[in-house]
């Protein structure tokens, strides 16, 4: 009798257990439509691009990658893309950090105005903004006229159609991506930390470099990385402010797709850019783990 009852209880337990297992699988089922949508919209095109870069007349081939890495013109474009992106990121950090710091110190009303000024570019089309820089930086533009009027230079400086112009334009577009996260982090830093530091005998210089700055480094690194990755894919700004003289990956991709249709080379270039971005990202993630430990 007792044995029988035990078995019965066990069976019930099993049945209960089975129901519990059935629960999550039903949930998984509900996720599928969205998952399929994501795969169809994001992953399939990416896989297709990768496939294109690996497919030749006779099926699978690495020839496109070989060509990419053996053609000085392509390598040159990749190098200048990396260089311009790096410089733009650096300039962004050098301008953005003090800007964010300055905004944090303002009274609430002025802080709102300053933040709105930083955000404003987000609301203006990138095309309009970039053309605006031509008005400002051109040979007959605002800056050159001021410099000549002030007697600083005799001949107009050609900011435009060079890496300088492209860097200025990119910094302007990307600045909010750096300033806003930094501003948020700086606002969150407890004022009592810096008060405590100065009460313990640290000069304001020391307070900044040993207490304030280290606390903002993770955000600075993360947002710089974001800016760098965004710079790699820039198209409009180099196209207009570079005037065809500054070739960046985005512009080369455009030529390879629209002018000299060699989609397999465009695909290979895109894949290389993706790998570079991922490599940087993983290096950053590892660095982050290491610094937290």
């Amino acid at each position: 009798m007792t044995a029988h009852a035990d078995t019965l209880a066990q069976t019930r337990q099993f049945a209960g257990g089975r129901r519990n297992i059935a629960g999550p699988s039903a949930d998984t089922l509900r996720v599928w439509p969205l998952l399929i949508l994501l795969i169809a919209l994001f992953d399939l095109p990416l896989l297709f691009t990768l496939g294109l870069s690996l497919y030749g007349k006779n099926g699978f081939t690495l020839a496109h990658y070989a060509e990419l890495l053996n053609t000085p013109a392509y390598l040159g474009v990749m190098a200048s893309t990396l260089r311009v992106s790096l410089i733009a990121t650096l300039v962004n950090a050098l301008v953005g950090y003090p800007l964010a710091y300055w905004i944090t110190g303002l009274d609430p009303r002025r802080r709102g105005i300053a933040l709105a000024c930083v955000l404003l570019p987000f609301w203006v089309s990138i095309l309009v903004r970039t053309y605006a820089w031509i008005v400002v930086l051109g040979n007959g533009g605002l800056v050159n006229r001021l410099l000549q009027w002030g007697g600083v230079v005799d001949e107009p400086i050609s900011f435009l159609y060079s890496e300088v112009g492209v860097t200025i334009g990119m910094t302007n577009v990307l600045l909010p991506f750096l300033v806003l996260p930094l501003y948020a982090t700086m606002m969150r830093i407890d004022g009592r930390l810096t008060q405590a530091a100065s009460s313990l005998g640290a000069s304001s210089w020391t307070v900044f470099w040993r207490v304030f700055f280290p606390l903002t480094v993770p955000t600075l690194a993360a947002s710089s990385l974001l800016v760098f990755m965004l710079s790699l894919g820039f198209y409009v700004t180099p196209a207009i402010l570079g005037g065809g003289k500054v070739a960046m990956a985005g512009n080369l991709l455009d030529s390879l797709i629209n002018q000299i249709p060699r989609w397999e080379m465009a695909a290979a270039l895109a894949a290389v850019l993706l790998v570079i971005t991922l490599a940087i990202y993983f290096a950053y993630a590892r660095l982050g783990r290491w610094s937290r430990a």
């Binding site: 009592r192 008060q195 009460s199 313990l200 005998g201 640290a202 304001s204 040993r210 207490v211 606390l215």
Partner: protein
């Protein structure tokens, strides 16, 4: 070590007077507490002494040195905040070493003094931890070690135990007191917790609405409050008639006797000051608190021993309440008359 002297100190923010006319001398090595409710100006007072804000009037002296316009960094004070304010990106060692390293001390000296400070707060062995890996009590000990490691002449504590739970708070109170006594450092504690103020301080200052209400040793402030605000803020106060005016008597000074069904009282109290009924009896472990509604409509709160017969009183029971005249402290209006004489009598 250093004394602290405040002369007619005042501070107003945008026309609002946060603190006014504070005169105070804290002796060398004294444990002094500034006690007040939130918004009373006690934190303003601390920020002025710490140099985190500048006074709009008056002077601050550390010893003979006028520090009124000296910024925080030059005052040489150890400051401990309620939220600890430990540097989250530094280890315990680096946190405690911070005041020494900014003073460019030698590595060996820093090692020694950090170890000494950590052993004083009983945290030896925690050097490599990050603050986030420690409990609140441990973090507060680190903050304390950091504040004393550079041997400041003055230690300022802003609600240092406020964020801790009761048991831990009581433990740390004892440790803090021992530490202060062994270092002989002039210590200024800011708190809204009257028990903390009473148990730790040599003397305390009660502040309300930006003005000083009383400066006295804990016992005196508790038993002989300067006014009804101080009386109320420092503990439960019973206001009773006295010489045609008003006096205050503490709940533990009241004697309560249960009145029997036939109106018979116990033998000890022959003529009670008042009779009434128990509204609520609150058992608190060490003490039983009886809320008594008097026959004339008044209210008294008595604290009786849980071992005594009055502890058996239940809500609705008739009781007789009595007190001795010398345990009643006259409040301002009453005192103005024969104050001097009464005060002299009281002091005996």
């Amino acid at each position: 070590m250093s004394s602290i002297r405040l002369e007619n100190l005042g501070k107003s923010y945008a026309g609002v007077q946060a603190v006014r006319g504070v005169d105070l001398t804290v002796a060398d090595g004294e444990f002094f507490t500034i006690l007040g409710p939130s918004g009373s100006g006690k934190t303003t007072l601390l920020t002025l002494i710490a140099g985190l804000a500048m006074p709009t009037e008056g002077r601050i002296l550390f010893g003979d040195r006028d520090v009124t316009h000296v910024p925080t960094v030059g005052r040489g004070i150890g400051l401990v905040f309620q939220n600890y304010a430990l540097f989250p990106h530094m280890t315990v060692f680096d946190n405690v070493a911070f005041p020494l390293s900014v003073r460019k001390k030698k590595r060996a000296e820093i090692e020694d003094r950090v170890q000494e400070a950590l052993s004083l707060v009983r945290l030896t062995g925690f050097e490599k931890r990050k603050p986030s890996q420690m409990s609140g009590g441990q973090q507060q000990r680190v903050a304390l070690a950091r504040a004393i490691v550079f041997r400041p002449t003055i230690l300022l504590l802003d609600e240092p135990l406020g964020a801790l739970d009761r048991k831990l708070r009581e433990e740390l109170q004892v440790e803090l007191k021992e530490l202060q006594r062994s270092l002989r450092v002039t210590t200024l504690l800011v708190t809204h917790d009257q028990e903390e103020a009473l148990s730790l301080s040599d003397r305390l200052l009660v502040i309300d609405k930006g003005t000083v209400q009383q400066i006295a040793p804990p016992r005196e402030a508790y038993l002989r409050p300067a006014n009804s605000f101080v009386a109320d803020f420092l503990g439960i106060s019973n206001f009773v008639p006295l010489d045609g005016g008003k006096g205050v008597v503490r709940p533990e000074r009241l004697q309560v006797e249960l009145i029997g069904e036939h109106g018979s009282r116990g033998p000890s109290v022959t003529a009670p000051n008042a009779t009434g009924r128990v509204r609520e009896a609150v058992y608190l472990g060490q003490v039983v608190r009886l809320h008594v509604t008097l026959d004339d409509g008044g209210e008294l709160i008595a604290a009786v021993s849980p071992a005594g017969p009055a502890a058996l009183a239940q809500s609705g029971d008739a009781v007789a309440v009595s007190w001795q005249r010398e345990h009643v402290w006259p409040l301002e209006a009453t005192r103005s008359g024969a104050e001097a004489a009464r005060r002299a009598a009281f002091h005996k």
